[in-house]
């Protein structure tokens, strides 16, 4: 064996922001179906990450977002934080939304960045 890196500790470290959103998720839940409410879904439980968003649109703006999520702390926190960031955004912007900045802000480790694509999918799906 020559594994140089294997000596480092790989314990998951969660940033303060992740811990905050994990414990006090913002906008958990869903809106009852109705006009101006869009529901999107991405991922699945077997793969370890699933999210459903419930987006209230007012005109061409995102008024409010609620979420339900199953996943690791980073995924839950990213979803919760996204609901805050999305509110007030033009609906058409959802289609090009990327999770990269959120990931950096939350300190999501590289090997988990892929999971954020599931969140991206759910957000982008709300553009239509």
């Amino acid at each position: 064996m020559t594994a140089e890196s294997a000596l480092s500790v790989t314990s998951p470290d969660y940033s303060v922001l992740v811990v905050d959103h994990f414990h006090r998720p913002r906008n958990a839940g869903e809106f009852p179906p109705g006009p101006g409410i869009r529901r999107t879904q991405a991922g699945n439980r077997q793969a370890g990450a699933e999210v459903s968003l419930s987006v209230r649109i007012a005109g061409d703006t995102v008024a409010e977002v609620r979420f339900q999520a199953f996943g690791c702390p980073h995924f839950l926190a990213a979803t919760s934080l996204a609901t805050e960031r999305l509110a007030g955004m033009p609906v058409e912007a959802l289609g090009r939304w990327t999770a990269g900045e959120l990931g950096r802000e939350l300190g999501v480790p590289v090997e988990k960045r892929g999971r954020l694509l599931i969140l991206e999918d759910a957000v982008r799906a709300a553009a239509q």
């Binding site: 790989t10 940033s15 077997q46 999520a69 702390p73």
Partner: protein, 399 residues
Amino acid sequence: MTTAAAPGTSSVYLDYAATTPVDPRVAALMCECLQSHDLCGNPSSTGHAFGRRARALVESARRQVAQLLNARPETIVWTSGATESNNLALLGAARFNASRGKHIVSARTEHKAVLDPLKRLEREGFSVTYLTPDRGGIVHPEQVVEALRPDTLLVSLMHVNNETGVVQDIGAVGAACRQRGILFHVDAAQSAGKVPIDVEALGVDLMSLTAHKVYGPKGVGALYLRRRPPLGLTPLIEGGGQEGGLRSGTLATHQIAGMGLAFELAASEGAADSARVAALRERLWQGIGTVGGVRLNGHPQQRIAGVLNVAFSDVEGESLQFSLRDLAVSAGAACSSESEEPSYVLRALGLSDAEARSSLRFSLGRFSTEADVDFAIGCVRREVPRLRGLAPGAAAPAS
């Protein structure tokens, strides 16, 4: 990015199967050894009193450890722990006795400290049959017997599984091996002090032991090695000739004395510990059960008192762990290097990856209290429903 502060020291230790706190009586003895000028000698320096006093402690500890197994003291070889003992037993016995046969029988649920040396032996030309336990984690003695071949040299089976606490019927396997002249190794890291052991009656030839699962120090263990008739082993570590040449290196007086006392205490208090711990575990199981959607991993009866491995349905494993981080419990393979992989032990019991990932091992011991258990129940009852409530498909919380 700021990293969150480590959880408070208010956490409750429920990870006795990974390692136990050192019993205060053991710690006191070890501190005495470390601080005593009279005991500072090298136990091999029997030419002077400092060495002879140290040696006397080592030999008295050898008797204490042997006693717990109903073995003679000269069957005990000191090592640095059960990992080394397993390596010495498996590599040592297989290499020394390779001319007698090159087939080995073991099980998929063994500790890595057995599986990894077996993998090395496979690379050296041995072939290994890995038995799959039933859903309860039991490897049936008939399975072992069926797997035996004319060229079977060795059977290696753990006494108690470190993840599930399931106890194997070592005696039946031992009898079958003895009858056929096949060597029998038992990894007893998790059973010594918790389950009665009589190496003679169980037909064991080699048994791996460690101190740090029995309230002794980390970094010291022993290999029981049948001496009548003598059993040859190729040593792993040579030079100096300690332990009859089977394991060279300066004997660590304080470590060995600590292991000796820990084993003596296990002999006198192990049964009472187990009874008390079984009641605590039952309380914990009942309390956890109230959240629903939980399942006990491993056989419900054939198990030791202190381990409760629970699968929580409808929660993601990492979030479950993190939400319960005030509880020092284990997820996945315990007492080995951390890994992202789901437990291969639980997978061998038929759990899906997701089920294995959403399983936690609670393990209790001598210093666990009702308060610890109630705190754990409180955490589980608060966090598991909360996480489930966040998931898609859960009843929407009133908003």
